[in-house]
Structure formats: C-alpha cells, structure tokens
Symmetry: C2
Subunit: 362 residues, 2 copies
C-alpha cells in the first residue's frame, strides 16, 4: 500500500519541480489525481497569483475525480489568499482520499487543511516522501518558520581549499560543467548576495546564462564602506540590485540616481552592516532562497554569525598552494571540535570536478 | 564467453587479495583452476620464497587439471627465480587454456610466459579485468617499470583544506572511521615516509594499530638538517627506521648507536636531500608501495618534484579558517592550469568524513 503512495507521490513531486524557477515567493507544489491506478489529472503551481496545483489537476480529471485519490506534495490551503481555498474545490469534486507530502509549514494554518478534509469525510494520509517535498521548498519553509531565508554559500575551490591565486585570478578554477551547474543554482535562487571585495576584484555579472529559462535575479551587494563603483558591471546589467551599506558618503548619490538600485542603509551596527538584521529584512521582503557568491571575508562573517544553511563546493583537482587565498576568514580557532556543525550531504562528479554539498546540523 | 572469463577472473582476484599484506616485494597473484564450470583448485602467492599461486591451485586440482582452464591474474613466470618456473608446472598438468589478467610488467620477461604456453599448444587469453590486477600491484609495477615506488600521499584535512591549527593541533581533524582506514593504508604499504617537522611537532608512531594483521613497517624520516631527536617515539618503537639526512653533525652519532636506525646520507643535493635520487634508492631497496604522511613542506616538495602518484584525502566537515595550516607549500602559482595533473579517482563516505582519492594523469 505504502509503495503505491510513493509511486504517485513521486509523480506529484515531478509536477512540483516544473515550477522551481517561477513560483517564488510561493512554494513549489505538485498534484496528481489517481483513479483505478491511473493518473487522470495533474498540475503544478506555476506562479504567485495563478491557480494552485490542485485546481489544475482536478480540472483535468473532471468527473473522473469522483471517488478518486488526490496526491499533493503540500497540505492544501483552507484560506482565501490571492486564490480561493483548494479545500473547497477538493471536497466538491468528490475526491475520496487525499495523500499529502508535508504539512503546511506556516504554523497559523498548518494542519487546518487536513482537519477540514477529514471533517468532510475524506480519508487523509500525511507524510509520504516528506523529505522530497521539503527539498523543493527549503527557502519557503525557512522564511515562514524562521523569518530568514535559506542561505546557500557557493564556492569554487581547488583541491587544497583555495578560491583565488594571490594575484587575484580566480577564472577559472573549476571546469565548464561546474560553471554551468552554478547557473542552475542561480536560476533557482531569489537573491544572489556578494561582497564589495568580489565586485571590486572580479567585477562579476552573477546573472543566469546559457539556460533555456530566462530569469532576472535580484542581487544584493554588501558594501559597508561603499567601496564599489556605480560603473561596476553588476549595477549596469538591467537586473535589480540592492545595496546594503553603512556609508553616508556623498558618493551614495551616484547610486541613488540609478533606477535599478535600491539602497538599504537601515541595517547598520557600528561601522558594519548588521548581518542577522539584514537577513531578517531579506526574509521580510519575501526572498526565500539566497545564494551567496563571495570571498573569504563575507563567507567567514556569515559563518561566524551562524547564517549559512548549506555549503555548495565545486572542487577542482587543481592544487594552488598555500600562497593562494582561502575559503573562510575567521578568528583563530583553538580546538578541533566541529564548531560550525556542518555535515556532508552529497558528493557528485561533474566532469573534471566534484560537487560537494554540506548542510548544517539542525 | 567474455562474461565467464570475468566471473572466474574475479575469483582469481579474490585469491590475489589475500596476499596484500604479505607478498611485497613480490606481486599479488591469485589463481583458480576451472573444470566444467566449477572451481577445482585455487591459490595465491603468500610471501617471497613461497610457491606461486599457480602451484597451489594446480596441486589442489590434481588430476582435475587435465583439460581444465587456469585463470591467473598475472602472466605466469617462465624463469627460475627463488622457485621453479610456473610455466613447466602448467604445461605438465594438462591444462587446456590459460586466462591471464595482465602481462608481467617486467619488460625482460613480459610476454615470454604466454609464448611458452602457446608453443606447448595451450590456448591463451590475455587482458581480462586487467585494471583490477593492476590495482593490486601498483607498487610492484611502478618499481619494475619506473625504478621508483608508487607514492601515495595521505592527508587528513578540514573542509577548507587545512591540516592543523595555527597552534599545531591536528589531533583529530578527521573522525574515528577515517583514522581506522589509515591503518589499513599503512598495513598495505612497504614504507612510511614523514618529514622532520612532523616528527618534531606531532611526535607520531606511524605504526599499524587496531588490525588483526600484525605488521611492522619500515619508516623513512627525511631530515636534511638533523632536527629530530633520537628519543622521538618513531625511533624507539621497534620498527626499522631509515634516516635520510644531509647532516654531518656529530649529533648523528647518537642515531648510529641505535640498531634499528639506518642512516642514508648519500643522497644529498646542496643542503637538501635529493628527492628523486632518494626515491630511486627506495625502489632499489625493493620498497614498492610508499605512503607519505607529512606536512605542507614535504608534501609541497614532492609535488614540485612530480613524485606523487596518488593523493588520499580524508576530509572532515570541520572548518578551520585561514589562520590554520594548508596542504602544500609551493612557490606562488601564476595561472590556473591543472599544473600538477591530478584527476579525481573516487570519493567515498567514511562516517562523518569523505575519503577522496586522486591519481596523476599518466
């Protein structure tokens, strides 16, 4: 019985995945309607303001929904948002049983959808392939449960943990396949963060290239002392840029003149940008999934502030030696405990490189 | 047909593996005799001076060898060494077909065994699971074909490529499972090399512990300026120690007094030990498989001299920061080509750590 649940939940997850580049700030949700062992309706949530996955699946199923089972990766909503509650639609369609991947992580409504379905006499099963559903919504879950985004720090490193030569050269430590994979990471994220050093030294675009999906991603530059220049590529590529700074320099006027740039100067702490406050503000602005592509200073500061949820390392077999730049600038450590609490999550080969993902212990 | 060859060659490889802790300086060889699809004899080479794998397998097979197939991982020998040539025994036993993993890598005899078998009217097939047979004899092959040992450099590193805290602490960056695996590496090696820094700072034993196999492994300390002290643990544990030095200090007398220590002072170049010459001498002394457990100075020097065949990294998820010590001290690099030519060979999880093996491009 459980096997059947998983088979069809996997179909619903495949549907949900189709929205990974478009649903934010909403979660990824997929749905299938199953009658006599066959999928008779399917759908996914495409974008905020558009109908939910259940609506598409039930419309496709039509009268076949009567007596059928509905599989949905996230608990159906029971409240009026931008669209009417899915619960009503499910109940009125004649569905007999609802199989759910995970509860709504938003505490105020979590479990209410299930209750409403059960009150209407519908069988409900919860927690089928729950982890897979979570994986699709790390950003959304983090934002609604912790008031901060999911933060992935991406690093392209040599075998010996170096991100750049002493002369500043970092193009390219990793292989073509790794760099292409980074564009997928970017396309899935809502916000890309970097620091002033990276902008000054690398002058990167940090946009999405070489993919069928054409997505403009907001950037956030953390530049406490306003060391970046308005003519840097990142400020002039059309994508929206947030500039987090503590500077009151008159030079700031040059940035204010640009329509694409939004100044965030209300998050200072002494001379520095207050990182925990900054990430809370990012969450309030509904950026759920944040990708950091920065150097050892910002990476080290985020580590120290316990703000990194995931590390994504693209590791090359090259060796750059001790004169090259490292990954995390942090105060000297005194003992060898696992201070920052990461665990290896997965390792995959990417042509010449390996991709290593670590997650924070929860 | 090929499938059958592989099935029984795998049985022969399993036999060969039984000798991995004992055959050096001889190669690991395994053999099975197959009659009517059944193994009727098997054997492996246990130790120099003892009979070869084929002899054990044929003796076990007895009269069943008549008309049977013999599988052997390495080309049978056709010359008188410490034991008579296996070829004679195979021919006289009535074997019909011989299936061979790899040719004898020793050029003077390579192919001669096959020729002798064919001249005697025996079918010969060569190259079945050849790579697996090579893997079992990396050291032996290196020594007889390149006059230098196979050199594996082992490193226990943090996620950010650090081998020690600034205060010298390196116990323990890696987890228990990794450290146990290192003892297996040691047990398979013929010689363990370290540098004077490691002896002075860590005072290690570098012996084999916690394994059923009780093996005494020779150590080689590279100590150009004689900075180590005779009362260091490594000189006083019973295992043989080679001391490669350029020093003519009177202090050397203290080492000469020890029965366990052999001074190698004929390999100097200016003020330093001449590493290529040293490795040539190691090979002449019939050490085939060398494990290096050293710090960033010796590791860097071996890298620069192109003397590393394999890197074995035990990587922990801990982060130690840029103030900690790195993996390879080498002159500053100017561009990002893969200067040292390593490739990722395998990655495996070891409890909390991952084990990454890289090999040199050949």
């Amino acid at each position: 019985m459980n096997k059947t649940y998983e088979v069809f939940m996997r179909e619903a997850l495949k549907q949900a995945e189709l929205g990974i580049y478009t649903t934010s700030p909403n979660p990824n949700v997929g749905c299938v309607v199953v009658k006599d062992g066959k999928v008779v309706g399917k759908g996914y949530h495409y974008q905020s303001g558009m109908p939910h996955a259940e609506v598409y699946a039930l419309e496709m199923a039509g009268d076949n929904a009567i007596g059928a089972d509905l599989y949905v990766t996230l608990e159906p909503c029971c409240h009026y948002g931008k669209t009417p509650p899915c619960i009503n639609k499910i109940i009125s369609s004649g569905i007999k049983k609802v199989v759910i991947g995970m509860l709504d992580p938003y505490l105020l409504v979590s479990g209410k959808g299930i209750l409403a379905l059960r009150n209407a006499g519908i069988d409900v099963v919860v927690g089928i392939l729950e982890n897979d559903s979570r994986e699709l919504n790390l950003g959304f879950i983090s934002r609604v449960t912790r008031s901060r985004p999911w933060v992935s720090v991406k690093l392209g490193v040599s075998l010996d943990g170096r991100t750049s030569l002493q002369n500043g050269t970092s193009r390219w430590i990793t292989c073509q396949a790794s760099r292409e994979d980074v564009h997928k990471l970017r396309a899935r994220s809502d916000l890309i963060i970097t620091g002033s050093n990276t902008v000054c030294i690398d002058n990167p675009l940090l946009n999405v290239r070489g993919m069928s999906v054409n997505k403009s991603i907001t950037k956030l530059i953390i530049d406490s002392k306003l060391r970046t220049e308005p003519d840097s590529l990142i400020y002039n590529q059309g994508d929206r840029v947030l500039l987090a700074t503590n500077s009151k320099k008159t030079a700031l006027k040059k940035f204010i003149d640009s329509l694409n740039i939004e100044i965030w100067d209300d998050i200072s702490l002494n001379e520095r940008v207050n990182l925990p406050l900054l990430f809370n503000k990012i969450s309030k602005k509904e950026y759920s999934y944040v990708l950091v592509e920065a150097g050892m200073n910002l990476n080290g500061a985020l580590l120290e502030h316990n703000l990194i949820d995931e590390l994504i390392l693209y590791m090359s077999p090259k060796i750059l030696g001790t004169s090259s730049l490292g990954m995390f600038q942090i105060p000297e450590i005194e003992n060898l405990e696992n201070k920052f609490g990461f665990n290896f999550h997965s390792v995959n080969k990417l042509d010449k490189d390996i991709k290593i993902i670590l997650r924070k212990n929860i």
